[in-house]
Symmetry: C2
Subunit: 307 residues, 2 copies
């Protein structure tokens, strides 16, 4: 096998109470990528569609993660990467993670899978760091492993696969505004009240338990972010209206996807998730803010081979 | 049935990363109590053995929780309570919680169990509040439900039963020193670094996952408290020596039990837990600090009827 086409999914990080550690994987939103062995050594980005991203390997997220892996193997050939980008950079649903994961997953398949998924995450972290200026894996882990993941620690890298209840659907709305990463960082406090931190870890412990027991009511009760949302939601126009609209039609919960501006919600069943889509869309439809909205099952597989 | 004898167990609250929310139940350490219906209305403490505690109902933890329940029922009789106290007050293994739980559990049995365990916890919280000056349930919940419990919230009261791996044993050492509750509160910061809070909730989420999956290595990795232990451990002589001694002979983890001074550790298997007992005891044996040490299986049943 000299060429592989893969699907690298979008992901939702943080998931309300799981700031910086929790994430889940989307099913029908993601990038396609082609990875090809070439005689020419090194990593070469040969095609990027839909968005204006750098072709220089060292400046491209997929390139940097590919290079991290390439430097760890000893081969007499190189790789070409084609990126068919569908996840808009800066949307808050793991655009850079999808790129970082796709190249190393595809290369690993082409050379007989010498690396496991945690090792692939280590390489992908280097690409993610190019985009977000810090090493984190809360989008990478769900993109690679699928389902819900908890990044227990970065050093050493420990990724836990949390079970996903069968009937869980996500609705994601992406208002087409730009939030600078620096801005979404700057609004966060360096210190938080101990009482708020306790409430947050009670909710996260509870959410992990709820996912293990498929307790949808408890998932709903646990999806509360008392630490980050009060700050970052101010950067997203009509955030509270969108959230309330989702809850009003039966969403289990809603919150900021990653550092925004996308807003996610989780629902039991496709029917409710579709109502949530309409309710969320209705809020932005009354404004001149352009938006995209997706309904998707939770993707338990993660990045995968298409052909 | 007019009289019942019950065993009300000691408990470990906080459990390293689960400050204020997590707890587990001990098996062979606890109080015995006799609860008896009487013609005389009201709640009457008629016997207290081993420790000098108040007989006045309103000043006694068991009395206050019993009274909270008594005021919620309509009966033409009263209750007598005898307390055979084995858990030393102030030891940090839920002495007041055992008293608070025992009276309401016993009364509930005598009147045909009109209340479920969460409702019993609501009554017991009133007794616990007498001892600790605030309403909390992190010792009450494991004493009533057994096993590991997570108190997701106090208002409304939500208690989650987290599964307990079969081969998990606790070792508890109680150095006979006094730490004032006011002191153990005063050392805690009102605000904590966000980065520490993130590490703490990563560990708690991970511990809940590890308990669900019986992953002893992950239990071990998760038993880290970066928020409270650095402050409160300073109040316990030789805390770090005791902890390191436990880890050195194979304990999965160790930490402060409740607000101390007791120190708990968890081990896989009775053999290791017994080695941990010897290792912990050896540390205090070299000092003139008196101590008690216990090895016990995790108690999955909680408070129970003896006869």
């Amino acid at each position: 096998m000299n060429e592989i086409k893969i699907f690298s999914p979008a992901t939702v990080a943080n998931v309300a109470c799981g700031f910086d550690v929790l994430g889940f994987c989307l099913d029908s939103v993601g990038d396609d990528m082609v990875i090809r062995k070439t005689d020419k050594k090194g990593i070469h980005i040969t095609k990027i569609e839909n968005f204006d991203l750098p072709f220089e390997t060292e400046l491209n997220v997929a390139g940097v993660s590919a290079l991290a892996m390439y430097n760890a193997i000893d081969v007499d050939f190189g790789f070409e990467i084609e990126i068919y980008k569908n996840i808009k950079p800066g949307s808050g649903i793991g655009s850079s993670a999808a790129s970082a994961v796709g190249s190393v997953f595809g290369m690993n398949e082409l050379i007989g899978r010498p690396f496991n998924k945690t090792q692939l995450t280590e390489f992908a972290i280097k690409g993610e760091a190019l985009a977000s200026k810090c090493e984190h894996a809360d989008n990478l882990a769900p993109a690679l492993f699928g389902g819900f993941t908890l990044v227990k620690s970065i050093s050493p890298l420990q990724i836990l696969e949390i079970p996903t209840p069968n009937d869980l659907f996500a609705t994601i709305i992406h208002p087409q505004i730009e939030i600078k990463t620096s801005e979404s960082r700057a609004v966060l406090p360096k210190e938080v009240p101990l009482s708020d931190a306790i409430e947050q870890w009670a909710n996260l412990g509870s959410l992990v338990h709820a996912l293990h027991t498929s307790d949808y009511n408890l998932i709903s009760n646990s999806l509360n972010d008392v630490i980050v949302e009060p700050y970052r939601s101010q950067l997203i126009p009509l955030f509270n209206d969108v959230k309330q609209a989702a809850l009003h039609v039966g969403a289990l919960g809603a919150g900021i996807s990653g550092s925004g501006p996308s807003i996610f919600s989780l629902s039991k069943g496709l029917e409710t998730a579709t109502k949530v889509k309409e309710a969320m869309a209705a809020v932005y439809s009354k404004t001149d803010i352009a938006f995209e909205v997706h309904v998707t099952k939770i993707n338990n597989e993660g990045v995968k081979i298409i052909s």
